[in-house]
């Protein structure tokens, strides 16, 4: 949770510095951002692949447990399609891609900025931060009224780290493996699905 706060503070610090107009004109951060993004992808892979929990998580994957992240993906897109039908102000690609952040706001914000510009990137960042915050606050409510998988699904990719404690508190300790597998699958799905949406759809 502390690192989420720092991430947001860096974003705000960037906005504030950008607003002051102190930056010399004509500096483009786009190229630099792309290179740093490439480095980020390698490092996300490195830390993901070497995560000490990963071997155990992979061992406990079963078809039944995989239904949970699949349900989250289908449900998220269902919600996004309804949003897009009721409020058709965003393109289908952009709204689906924003949904495909599954709460992983840092990566989805940066990726969608590269594919679709800062405006969509900012929207993706804010929408996915909001998903994390709502999941943190409402995990007990979701679990109580919509079953013990609901807080896991709501949390999306964050069910393996930032929202894990509140999920376990709301649904019980035996949801640990489900939450971890769910988080791992969605974390890896985020860059794939976003790229597929913009490149194939």
């Amino acid at each position: 949770m502390k690192s989420s706060l720092i991430i947001v503070l860096f974003f705000i610090a960037g906005i504030v510095l950008g607003q002051t107009g102190l930056l010399p004109d004509g500096i483009s951060f786009d190229r630099l951002s792309i290179i740093v993004l490439y480095v980020l992808m390698v490092f996300i892979g490195l830390s993901f692949g070497s995560d000490p929990r990963l071997p155990e998580i992979l061992r406990s994957v079963s078809l039944k447990i995989l239904l949970v992240p699949i349900s989250t993906i289908i449900g998220t897109f269902l919600g996004i399609l309804i949003y897009n039908w009721m409020i058709p102000d965003l393109g289908l690609k952009d709204s689906l891609a924003i949904g495909a952040g599954f709460g992983y706001y840092s990566l989805s914000g940066v990726l969608i900025t590269q594919f679709s510009g800062e405006s969509m990137g900012t929207l993706a960042l804010l929408a996915n931060i909001t998903r994390e915050i709502i999941s943190l606050l409402f995990a007990p409510v979701f679990s109580r009224y919509f079953g013990k998988l609901a807080p896991v699904s709501s949390a999306g990719a964050t069910s393996m780290d930032t929202t894990l404690p509140v999920i376990l508190k709301a649904s019980g300790k035996n949801y640990l493996i489900i939450s971890l597998v769910h988080g791992v699958v969605l974390t890896i799905a985020v860059p794939f699905i976003i790229t597929l949406i913009y490149k194939v759809l």
Binding site: F29, S154, K199
Partner: protein
């Protein structure tokens, strides 16, 4: 942009080769966080220098809230069905 997925895959496979090492994980995990700080700072910079985004920030924030509510509602709905029809049976 396919290169993004290729780099991710290469990183994951390399990382998996080091999966016994807690030290390797600790270092890469920390570095990942620092890179994310840098990227979000750059993203803030480019947003801050775009007046058309700054003017609409409240509107963007409201839209973000709506989108996240729809995304959460959809996934909570399918999670409810999954729990009700498949998971709950085994629990009792």
């Amino acid at each position: 942009m396919w290169i993004i997925l290729l780099l991710l895959l290469a990183g994951t496979l390399t990382g998996y080769a080091f999966s016994g090492s807690k030290k390797f994980f600790g270092i890469t995990d920390k570095t990942t966080l620092y890179i994310i700080y840098a990227l979000l700072f750059f993203m803030g910079l480019s947003v801050g220098t775009k007046p058309e985004i700054m003017r609409n920030l409240t509107e963007i924030g409201f839209k973000a809230l709506l989108i996240s509510l729809f995304a959460i509602a959809g996934s909570v709905f399918t999670a409810f069905l999954l729990y009700r029809f498949i998971f709950r049976k085994n629990e009792k």
